[in-house]
């Protein structure tokens, strides 16, 4: 019994100290900004900062994060006003990972009808596929710490009413956020329905670095095609079609 009481006491303590800085480079679109706002709303342990000016010197992000007393960082980097990259990093000594954000639907889309408390904690579900490779095992741990809400954080409420699900399919990480619902009509006492809250997005990992925004490359995605190349290929494909028609 004494042991159990000790357990209880330990559970009251605030031990898992995670603080995540979320901010972006200049030149992100309004949609990206909405997405960033969504993440800030969903992560009560997040902090924000003004837009970051320099694209060339990404290592300076570390200083901003340390000034803000954060041990995790999500940094959005916009390219050409259409492509959005998302960096996720452990401050100060890494690792860090760069993702291309694809298939983005923000929380403001009306077809996503769920809702949850501001500051409540999410359950985190990972697809077993993450365990199949060392790179994704590492990413799983990073996502857990950066996106999960730590118990006991001053701004985190001790309630659980939504779930972040991460699936690894097609070499991409698919993110879904569901509200946990007890359906009223059945008078049920247990959660038996999910309603999607959003946002919805895919993270296509580009590269994992050993340091925070620097250091050696630990892993590089062999299947990654840059969005520029993708567009060029699509354009060329169209040209081929036109040529065929002409012939």
């Amino acid at each position: 019994k004494a042991e159990r009481q000790k357990d209880r006491r330990d559970l009251r303590k605030y031990v898992n100290k995670q603080r995540t800085l979320i901010f972006a480079s200049r030149g992100i679109t309004h949609r990206d900004r909405h997405f960033m706002a969504d993440l800030r709303d969903l992560l009560p342990h997040s902090k924000k900062d003004v837009k970051f000016d320099s694209k060339a010197k990404l290592y300076l992000v570390n200083e901003v994060a340390e000034m803000k007393n954060c041990n995790n960082c999500i940094f959005f980097e916009a390219r050409k006003g259409k492509d959005l990259y998302m960096w996720m990093s452990r401050i100060p000594s890494g690792p860090s990972v760069k993702f291309l954000v694809e298939n983005l639907h923000t929380m403001s889309e009306l077809k996503l009808t769920g809702n949850c408390l501001k500051g409540s904690r999410p359950l985190l579900l990972f697809d077993k596929n993450f365990d199949e490779s060392p790179a994704f095992r590492l990413l799983k741990e990073m996502l857990t710490q950066v996106l999960g809400s730590p118990k006991g954080h001053p701004k985190v409420k001790p309630f659980i009413d939504h779930q972040f699900s991460f699936f690894l399919q097609d070499n991409r990480i698919w993110f879904r956020n569901y509200q946990l619902v007890k359906s009223d009509d059945k008078g049920s006492q247990e959660v038996d329905t999910l309603v999607e809250i959003g946002p919805r997005f895919c993270l296509n990992p580009v590269r994992i670095l050993s340091g925070s925004f620097g250091g050696t490359t630990l892993w590089q995605n062999p299947d990654f095609v840059t969005p520029n190349r993708m567009r060029a290929m699509r354009k060329r494909g169209k040209q081929d079609v036109v040529r065929e028609r002409r012939d």
Partner: protein, 119 residues
């Protein structure tokens, strides 16, 4: 990006397994942490989809897997005697505002009317 261009093409397939594993050990949450600190679970078997671009089937599979995990997690929390439900009289700000939810409802109504009209 300039960093990508400067890398020779031979480095394309780089995997540093030892490096990845040592970094994982560096950042892992301490073993003695209770599960409730992170609330993270992994499914028991990998999700296999025939075609990831089949939206309906994909979302259905995601939903089923997610609900299964949620039920187990919440049951475990109850068994551990860890409260997680919001009391009935606890009101607080929601992630989506009332105005936003009103719009969502309005749209649902319109859609239902459309369905009825065609039916």
């Amino acid at each position: 990006g300039d960093t990508e261009k400067s890398k020779p093409a031979t480095k394309k397939n780089k995997i540093d397994v030892l490096g990845l594993e040592s970094k994982l050990r560096d950042i892992k949450l301490p073993e003695q942490f209770h599960w409730v600190e992170s609330l993270a679970v992994t499914s028991t078997k990998p999700l296999e989809l025939e075609d990831v671009h089949d939206d309906l089937k994909r979302e259905a599979a995601f939903y089923t897997e997610s609900l299964k995990a949620a039920k187990i997690c919440l049951k475990n929390l109850k068994q551990m005697n860890i409260p997680f439900e919001r009391p009935e009289d606890f009101y607080a700000e929601m992630v989506k505002t009332d105005a936003h939810m009103a719009k969502v409802k309005a749209k649902l109504l319109v859609e239902r009317k459309k369905m009825d009209a065609t039916a």
